[in-house]
Amino acid sequence: MTIAPAAVSAAAWVLVSLLLFLAGFCLLHRNLWRACQGFVAFALLMSLAWLVLGSPWLALAEALLGALLTGGTLLWTLRGRGALPRLAPVDETPRRARLSAPLRWLLILSWLGLSGVALVMLLGLDALSPPTSTSTLLTATGVLIMGLGLWAFSAQRHLLRRLLAFNLLGSGVFLLLAGVAAPVPVSMIAHLEPAPIAEVRALIFIGLVVALLGSVLGAALLLQLHAQAGQVTLTPMAPRHPGR
């Protein structure tokens, strides 16, 4: 099935704005149940993005590992089964203290700055403003999603939200990885070989498996920690948290 280039572009813009909206929704919503549902939708859209980028196997892996298993684990963590007490559905923990904010922002901005500079040098400024192809558009989106994920990971305390933030950060990195390696890069070095597509897919696949295992482990630990010590954050003195 072939679509006219202009139609791809419009659909791609819709896809990208939906991805960004869902990323923000999933990271900012204090109702954890809603946030996890947002994550499932985000992962399904990511799978659509892989389909658009021409890798159906990766799309299948993302739908299966990302949406079904990771998203399912996070939702299951909230519902809670068996003897372990349930987590509260709404995150009541305050954000990190302002004291460490400058350091946090320095780290986030240097991460984003470094990857942005490298991206501009690899793809060229012309290709990025405005993005000329679907893959560059998705790469630039990847940087934005990384930014959101980094902010949420460092600012929030609730461990489930930090796991969500880690997953989104990972998705951003995957998009960037697919984007910089898929087209023939404009680079200073002359003797380049054809881009190793199979290796890129293998890297993303391993990344998805690691994200799944990390989320499952993290969620199981969170439930245990909640059952034993009644805390949902790393530091025990979360104020106003009702002990069960």
């Binding site: 991460w111 470094l114 990857s115 500079v117 490298a118 040098m121 690899l122 793809l123 990971f153 461990l159 930090r162 880690f166 950060l169 990972g170 990195v173 960037l176 990885l177 910089v180 390696a181 890069p185 680079s187 200073m188 070095i189 003797h191 380049l192 070989e193 054809p194 881009a195 190793p196 597509i197 199979a198 290796e199 890129v200 293998a202 890297l203 391993i206 990344g207 690691v210 994200a211 295992l213 990390g214 482990l217 993290g218 630990l221 969170l222 245990q224 920690l225 034993q228 010590a229 790393l234 025990p236």
Partner: protein, 484 residues
């Protein structure tokens, strides 16, 4: 018969298979473990001895995917070290379960995780492309986190969760670095990239990529500013797990970092100096924190932070120095790595034995151990000989080589760091010994331990000292300043 790739494959997967077997029927006798797992280090030794006619290398094609691997003298030595330490730790674990009350299911889980760890470490030693390195690093990291969580109390869970979050973010940083490298070079195999890097000027994208890779690895390897997860995680972990983690897991990140640095930015002097300075700060900070530590295991963990700092001195001493200096620094690095791995495993086990039989967690609880537990205390002291760098241990030989290399290249700063680091390690070791030699302590009830647990630790500590006496043999397998 000379080694073939099939033997490598066997050595990679046999520990995992044994681990799964032990998951079904967890072993409770050291003799059984010794009998079943003894072939692993023997095969590793045979691989090392079979490398007479140069390193082995090859490619493995999985459909469209090509994986590159390579087994040289260094990789074979590290693999042998890994198998020996895993065997020692498995033997110790079989005794440990009989003297402490561990959860049955948690103890069963120890074994497959240990097998996975062996597979991950093996992959890291023989990988020659970034894809295999990534797979090995992640497998090792996840297994290590899992092992740390086995105690299952709230303290272990918080420390383990913090470790998990750090490790996951570290792996994403590393993946981002790989993405940029892939964009700049269009390939993932280290030999090919090293070949290109030796003719081309390093471009900014490569520098950014290596900076990201390095920060991911520093995070996973607990090197100075990113070490905060290490001490809490060791405070609550089981002794055999702590021993493997302090001896091998953090070293693997350093190994990858040095490999990538030598391949991609061999001449980047400013970056190498930055890493060396971080290492110096690690030596000082780790020493000071170990001096101030309250618990014995925290003290040993902080001393790991300090000792890892020494390894970072390899970067400035290898970048842009003369061949003689680079050779000394190269040999010193691997000698320190192996010596510290043996000594740290011995020290964790000795500390675990002391804590187990006194039932104390703080240093003050060790009073009177000099009379009642002389063997464990002697093991602790012998392991400390290597850490302090006293002759004739491997630590001494390594520090001696580093001193010569720094003097010959005119990098005086590292001489000061080496001296201060040794002084600090002497201070914290004698703090432990002073507590244990207090005689007028109230009589406590000491638990007696199986002799095997004390002997394993003693053998490891003696091996670290013996490595200094017989350093010529392993060093003869090292290629002169290896460029992958």
């Amino acid at each position: 018969m000379s080694p073939t790739p099939l033997h490598l494959l066997w050595l990679l997967f046999a520990p995992l298979a044994l681990g799964l077997l032990a998951w079904v029927r967890p072993p409770r006798h050291s003799g059984l473990v010794l009998f079943v797992a003894m072939p692993l280090p023997l095969v590793a030794l045979w691989l090392l001895l079979g490398l007479d006619d140069g390193p082995m290398a090859g490619q493995l094609a999985l459909g469209p995917l090509t994986l590159h691997w390579r087994l040289d003298g260094l990789a074979a030595l590290l693999w042998l070290l890994t198998q020996l330490l895993l065997l020692a730790s498995a033997l110790y674990a079989a005794g440990y379960v009989r003297t402490t009350t561990l959860g049955q299911r948690a103890y069963a889980w120890l074994w497959p995780l240990m097998g996975g760890l062996a597979l991950g470490l093996g992959l890291i030693w023989i990988a020659a492309d970034l894809l295999l390195l990534y797979a090995g690093l992640e497998l090792m990291g996840l297994c290590a986190v899992g092992m740390m969580l086995l105690p299952g109390n709230a303290e272990a869970l918080t420390a383990g969760l913090r470790y998990l979050l750090f490790a996951l973010v570290g792996s994403l940083t590393w993946l981002l670095g790989i993405a940029l490298l892939l964009g700049a070079w269009g390939r993932l195999d280290l030999a090919g990239m090293a070949g290109l890097a030796s003719v081309a000027q390093p471009d900014p994208v490569t520098q950014i990529a290596v900076a990201l890779l390095a920060s991911g690895l520093l995070l996973k390897g607990a090197i100075f500013p990113l070490h905060s997860w290490l001490a809490p995680v060791h405070g609550s972990a089981w002794t055999p797990v702590s021993a493997i983690h302090g001896a091998l897991v953090v070293k693997a990140s350093f190994f990858i970092l040095l490999l990538l640095w030598r391949a991609l930015l061999p001449e980047a002097i400013a970056g190498a100096w930055a890493l060396g300075l971080l290492g110096s700060l690690a030596v000082l900070w780790g020493g000071i924190q170990a001096w101030r530590a309250v618990g014995l295991k925290q003290l040993v963990a902080w001393s790991t932070v300090g000792q890892l700092g020494y390894l970072m001195l390899a970067f400035p001493l290898l970048a842009g120095t003369s061949a003689a200096v680079a050779l000394m620094a190269w040999q010193a690095t691997w000698l320190q790595l192996a010596g510290h791995a043996l000594a740290k495993a011995a020290m964790f086990m000795a500390a675990g034995n002391l804590l187990l039989s006194t039932g104390a967690h703080r240093l003050e609880g060790l009073t009177g151990t000099s009379r009642r537990l002389p063997l464990s205390l002697m093991t602790f002291g012998l392991a400390a000989v290597t850490l302090m760098g006293l002759p004739p241990s491997a630590g001494f030989t390594a520090k001696w080589l580093w001193l010569q290399a720094s003097l010959a290249s005119g990098q005086w700063l590292w001489v000061v760091v080496l001296a201060l680091g040794s002084l600090l390690s002497a201070i914290y070791v004698f703090r432990v010994l002073r507590c244990s030699f207090v005689e007028d302590a109230p009589e406590q009830a000491f638990r007696s331990l199986p002799l095997g647990m004390e002997l394993i630790a003693l053998v490891l500590a003696l091996a670290a000292i013996g490595l200094g006496l017989a350093a010529g043999w392993p060093l003869s397998f090292l290629a002169p300043v290896g460029v992958p």
